[in-house]
Amino acid sequence: MFYIKLILAFFKTSTQSELAYRSNFFIRLLNSFLNLLTGVLSLVVIFNQVETLQGWDMPSALALLGIYLLLGALRELFIGPSLESVTGMDGEIWTGTFDFTLLRPVDKQFLLSFRHWRIFALFDLLLALVVLGAAMGLLGSDLSFGAVLSFILMLLAGLVLLYAALLAFSALVFWNSGFLFTWIINDLFQLARYPVSLYPNWLRLILTWIIPVGLMTTIPAQALIGTLSPWMTALTLLFSLSSLFAASILLQHGLRKYTSASS
């Protein structure tokens, strides 16, 4: 209960400070639309040339795009800004103000993950849901109740995987504070726009087992169109939970290594 209250308080203060920048709102709106436009137009261009791409047709690729936008919006809503404010450029680790964060009587991982919110990302979330809804409409009669249920489960697993990857990369900053590790994972996340099976073998292996951005969107999309086997479902759940566990351990180790930056 205490943590829910804290999240609400964080959300409120973040929103108040962001609403002070009103013209930013329109810029954000423009960027959200551009993001959506390029995503959808890319699919239009690709599927103008081919009917299917290794088993993926336009509706299923659109569903995957919706999942990609949804995860991106959730990252943008709180995970990204919260982690960035500590480990990013001019973050608390660089400036040394992380000391004050550490002194607070709250779980550190919680503080690192939920402190800053970007209310404008809710609009991205809405656009993502529209895309997902349109894709489900196109898939239409192929959707079964079980598929939707398994889709929601795998979407959560994808979110956990994304969170674990961002947390782990952020934790690396305790070993090398000058390097922007979160940028790498943000860059690589772009590869999750398309099904991982479209990439060459060597890249597919990396994106599945080492930096699992491929799994985050491909697996939920497969669950939705009903091509995901039950044992892959179980394996993904296991993999996402163990990634979360491993990332938390890495962060604990990192926190112990932390020494303040200023005098």
Partner: protein, 263 residues
């Protein structure tokens, strides 16, 4: 006009930028990824055969050269010009006894040196993995040089006049995002021109964005007939001239409008 001072500034900037290689290498990595994504997507679409006359090997050749060309013509400076105006630092440029354009040029050249140190080896490594196929001739190579230089001039001045709108509007840099989106769609990033749907192709040929990135690549890889090359150069030169005229206009009006605050 003091050209020697300008040259010293250029040398200075690039040496200081080399000190922060890691940061710039990360930026270069981020710009490379979207192009790689579409290389892999179109390769998957071509399969063992070809798509619109392009095989996996020629696609690889096109996109690898595009990665380098795009890196070369990308005008990173334009993103910082707006900040310089907003923060009032441009006052210092204005009183120095040389053209303020040298400041932008010095950052441009420093950027090219640092980014190429990353992009050339990485592209070379990728070429070893994905085995591109080129059929280069001396005449194509000879035409490529002016094409890429004018592409840089066009992209630099086009972004520069947009960035200079910061004299009037604080968030003019969102126009640069718009420019990047158009380059992605019409500049041969999302797909080589031949793979675009027929309703997009005329727009790609008329708008300036193709001439900032894909045109030199098409010239080099021999995708164009003689009169297409000729017309390409004419349109490219026309847009470049327009961009330079717009830059001079916006600059002279902007400086008169400019007033710094603070003390």
């Amino acid at each position: 006009m003091n050209h020697q001072g300008g040259w010293e500034l250029i040398k200075n900037t690039w040496q200081s930028w080399l000190q922060h290689r890691g940061f710039f290498f990360l930026l270069a990595f981020g710009w490379m990824l979207p192009l790689l994504v579409y290389l892999f997507i179109w390769s998957a679409a071509a399969g063992d055969g070809s798509i619109a006359g392009l095989t996996q090997e020629t696609l690889a050749g096109y996109y690898l050269i595009l990665i380098l060309t795009n890196q070369f013509t990308y005008a990173t400076t334009n993103w910082t010009v707006g900040d310089t105006i907003r923060m009032g630092q441009i006052s210092r440029w204005l009183i120095q006894p040389m053209s303020p354009l040298f400041h932008a040029l010095s950052a441009e050249i420093a950027g090219k040196v640092v980014f190429m140190l990353f992009s050339i080896p990485v592209t070379g490594l990728l070429a070893l993995i994905i085995q591109p196929q080129f059929n280069l001739t001396w005449s194509q190579g000879g035409l490529f040089l002016p094409a890429i230089l004018v592409a840089w001039v066009l992209r630099f001045f086009w972004g520069y006049w947009l960035a200079l709108l910061a004299f009037w509007a604080t968030r003019a840099d969102s126009l640069l995002t718009l420019q990047d989106t158009f380059i992605f769609l019409f500049g041969g990033h999302l797909a080589p021109l031949a793979l675009l749907p027929s309703w997009m192709q005329p727009w790609a040929r008329i708008l300036p964005f193709r001439y900032m990135s894909a045109f030199p690549v098409e010239v080099l890889t021999g995708h164009l007939r003689h009169n297409e090359i000729l017309w390409g150069f004419v349109i490219q030169a026309g847009w470049s001239l327009t961009a330079i005229i717009l830059y001079r206009l916006v600059w002279s009006r902007g400086v008169r409008h400019y007033e710094s605050v603070g003390g």
